[in-house]
Point group: D2
Chain length 345, copies 4
């Protein structure tokens, strides 16, 4: 059994981690920390966990996290980088669901997150935790920067095209929409039901933190520093789910290619990436509460490709992907504990 | 033209007041105060008001509220009672949308709202602003305690039965459900879309502030101190709307009565109370964004009456009712500015 | 492995059955029938099942259902009773998720469902499939009438009180609310999002088919033909979930009783019924996509008891309960394949 | 007073027309037809209209529509073109909310709508009813093809750029999302709450009827047959509202231009088009139940323009625009009866 600790499990990625780990056949939940809620049974905060999780929140001091095999950080940005060194030194594998280990460019991190980076050396060795694109490195990693929710869907949608060199790299468009849980379990007016329900809008129009992450990764995937993607997030009045509508212009190779075959080949054998039949339009509910991504590729004009991608932002976009990384890091079957059938309707 | 001031217009009852007053043919909006937002154009907070409301929020000092004819308090509990005396002395009519002037029993007020009452003498003269039950007193009032949203629907549903002496008064049940806007525009976790959507629950099960208000008023209506109503609120994943399902046992007079006729007679001529045909079930959307109440009365068992009532909690349950009171206090047609057709779908 | 067939799996109870059975460790899905969709892969209709269910819909003739161990009917009322005799004769256990085997009184069945009953003799031996109240009979049953969604929650809420003789039996009230999936996957105007969202209403106010089922069962539970419950359903703008708010008057024994202790004793050891701590209010999302029921009991007045019950109408209210019955009938652990953690948020 | 008839008022554009016309100070509703519902009071179908609309549905024969000044067709495609000639001959102005008079190319109409066009000569004289782009022609028109909901928002967003020649015309992208009421009040499974709520998807990915309408109009606006727009609609789990996110590449003139100033100049004096301050992101609720459009223009990259547009699909996207056309055709103030404040929250 893998001994697991969670730092900061009071938010949505935390409760999703708990949901997945409580049903994982090879995990023993050892401790979950929250300074603020220390002493409270986890199931008092989340009645859905009654009968499944018996732990109480404890303070970091009580948690003895250095005796875990794996520690997840489901915390605000800045927490994991402050604690990672000690854990890694103790031989603990660290998976950060926040952004501390995503952006390799320290200056960019500091610009977007407003914090000095606490451990650039650890950042340099950290591995970007998107298994379908980075599996071997994840297996050997000590520290995982778990991808952002939007970047996961954008990368999986553009990767087959970029790797095959089928699109003009400089003017990609990622028109994305996310459910409100992506904003976390924070008391903020804009996320109230009376504000966000029966409503739709773009946001972050002056720049969103997932923009630099997307560009860093697409450039890495393509091996081409000229890749540039315009990322525009929108807020959906749903709880879970991300939908990305991706646009690019096909170069001459792309115009000649069988795009459906390209995608099917790219993800053949992938357990969690489902390339839909030609002509499809995936819907977010088809992956609700699961670690699946579904993708459809279209050529609406001879020189244009459109890719539609759906994921559950809390599962494949956050906690499910983190568990997938854990499985790889610990030598388990990658899909262990992650094969739940999506909940529909 | 009536010169109107609003104290504290940044919440949902505030923006609803602004929506109604901006379209009212006999109102000039003179000032709207918010210490926190002073200087900000109202339409910057609420883009729906762009082109309709040109005011900026001002501090109370700048507002010169004593030069208004009517001042509405769309504030937290406790604000109106602190400012009412000065305004009333200056001849300004005061309408409080909070609870400061609803509960006539000072001790009860202090118990439920946790504040000493600042002006018991003004409380004693304040009039409960439910026009269909209290019209003549409202016309002569200087201070209105505008009814709570739930109590409005419960009173209008039980009043015909209590006045006609048709039900056993001691075990009334008011099973009510409200949209989330009833909780106000406050950043609170339980009201987040990701918490409240796709969900339903009872709340306030240990006692809700509208309970004593309901009992005070039902006793007054019945002229019977033995009236007792069990009030159970539930939280609906909708923005606007209250639905009350009311139960009582019919006494022998009630069992013999034509309840449909009783209700139709009780509300004949009322502009805002619509008694539906026998066998109906009103839906909240049928009154959305309007000052209407729709009521259906049923006798599901020979000795049981069930009354179904819907209202928009922000309009007839708050700001629309306040405007209705203003019209009465100012000698205008009671329905002026309040005849909008409900928005459906 | 248990060989399972499903008749009519295109509706919501069908896809929920498929979700549960595809993950059940002791089940092999053998066939699923739909005359209308014969030949279509199940996963084409429900993309959530891609990778989990490889079956195609087949015609009843192709299905060879008599070679199954268990056949579920997820069909409209009237289908199961027409096919049950042949299956039972072949030694197949039958579980009907519709109403054909719920009402023991044939005349009542015919009145409410508008059909003559095809096999009163089988009806007489059919067992009402609510395991917490009827476990031993279910184990020995050949035919299960799977309970209606509302009746499940109402029975589990009233049963401890009726069995202990703590309430006046003649004026029970069940004020219930259900998500829209309870109406099935039928193209009907009233269930459109543009009709049912941002809306709430009572329905079936002239009588609902679950009313006689509730009364039949409460009378059986109490062993008292005088039990009478007023059942009032409401339509919630959510997908899944039932919330029942139950009221009864306590008799003198009830007024003296420790109701919390009564409920805790009644459901001690039950895997799927969770009695919440005193003072709680369960929310529907706390059981979303799970087979759990959560119950809170309150005494808001000295002579009144209020019970709050939540369930997922598609799981414990339909398909999960059916699987629970299957487990019992087949000698498996009752909770096998049903221990999913609820999906929250 | 203008005498108005409505053909086919049972759908959502019909009830929205009724809501607007019932409050219009210069309109007398004379007749509303529905073969299917003839004899039923309109307010029985739409309780929101109780007390506002006293008409019953009548058969076309009873309606005497040729005695109206204006007749609106809120019907399926194909109805208006069958009846328009007789009405126009009788001097009645015709406004069709369906597609019969939108596409000037008869072959294109027949391809997309699957019907032969009944009156190509009337089509040739019909005017496209988008007042902000076509005001003078509307004033003189006898027949209006009222714009589609999506095309209204796309045209208003691209028009200032196309007219000023600031963008490359061949690869425009219109990434749009609409509330479910856009699908009409038809009993279809995909529009059920249990299907469409808590969900998001693209649709019409193989081609949508509004695509050719958008291209026809953008070409006309630009005076350039090379204009080509990729139109991708998505289905939002909201009742009302369209949000369009538009992308284009700026040519050298566009890169040098002050785009904010271009838009402000383009819509100066327009009562219903609100250009938001630089940096804004409009939300659909800010125009709910109103005839307003709000637009924000962004330059996220030096050579890329992004325009965000919101409208209420039933009001400015359908019935409000139709009333706006009626006002112009009848010599009334263009905004008469259309100045409602949007309903927020």
């Amino acid at each position: 059994m893998i001994e697991v600790g969670i730092v900061g499990g009071t938010g949505y990625t935390g409760v999703e981690l708990l949901r997945l780990l409580a049903q994982h056949p090879q995990v023993r939940l050892r401790a979950i920390t929250s300074r603020k809620e220390a002493g409270m049974p986890v199931a008092d905060m989340y009645p859905s966990l009654r009968g499944h999780v018996d732990l109480k929140f404890v303070t970091p001091d009580e948690a003895q996290l250095n005796q875990c095999n794996v520690v997840f950080f489901a915390t605000p940005h800045g927490v994991a980088m402050a604690q990672a060194r000690e854990l890694v030194s103790a031989g603990v594998k660290v998976i950060d669901l926040a952004a501390d280990f995503r952006l390799q460019d320290v200056a960019e991190f500091e610009q977007w997150y407003g914090l000095p980076h606490a451990c650039p050396d650890l950042l340099a060795e950290a591995v970007y935790g998107l298994p379908e694109l980075n599996r071997e490195a994840i297996k050997r990693a000590r520290i995982i920067g778990n991808p952002g929710c939007y970047p996961t869907s954008v990368q999986l949608g553009f990767a087959p095209l970029l790797r095959a060199g089928l699109i003009e790299p400089t003017h990609l468009i990622a028109n994305c929409a996310s459910g409100v849980s992506g904003a976390g379990r924070k008391a903020e007016v804009h996320a109230l039901l009376a504000e966000a329900a029966d409503n739709f809008k773009a946001y972050g129009v002056k720049g969103h933190r997932h923009g630099p992450e997307i560009n860093q990764q697409l450039r890495t995937i393509a091996g081409d520093a000229s890749v540039n993607c315009l990322f525009v997030p929108h807020l959906l009045p749903i709880i879970r789910g991300i939908h990305s509508t991706l646009y690019a212009r096909l170069n001459s190779a792309g115009q000649a290619a069988d795009l459906q075959a390209v995608f099917e080949a790219a993800y053949r054998g992938e357990r969690f990436v489902d390339v839909l039949p030609a002509g499809s339009a995936p819907e977010t509910r088809s992956v609700r509460a699961s670690n699946n991504v579904r993708i459809a590729v279209h050529k609406p004009q001879p020189d244009t490709v459109m890719v539609l991608v759906v994921e559950d932002n809390l599962t494949k976009g956050a906690s499910g992907q983190a568990v997938q990384c854990m499985n790889l890091m610990c030598g388990l079957d990658e899909s262990l504990g992650l094969t739940h059938v999506p909940v529909l309707p």
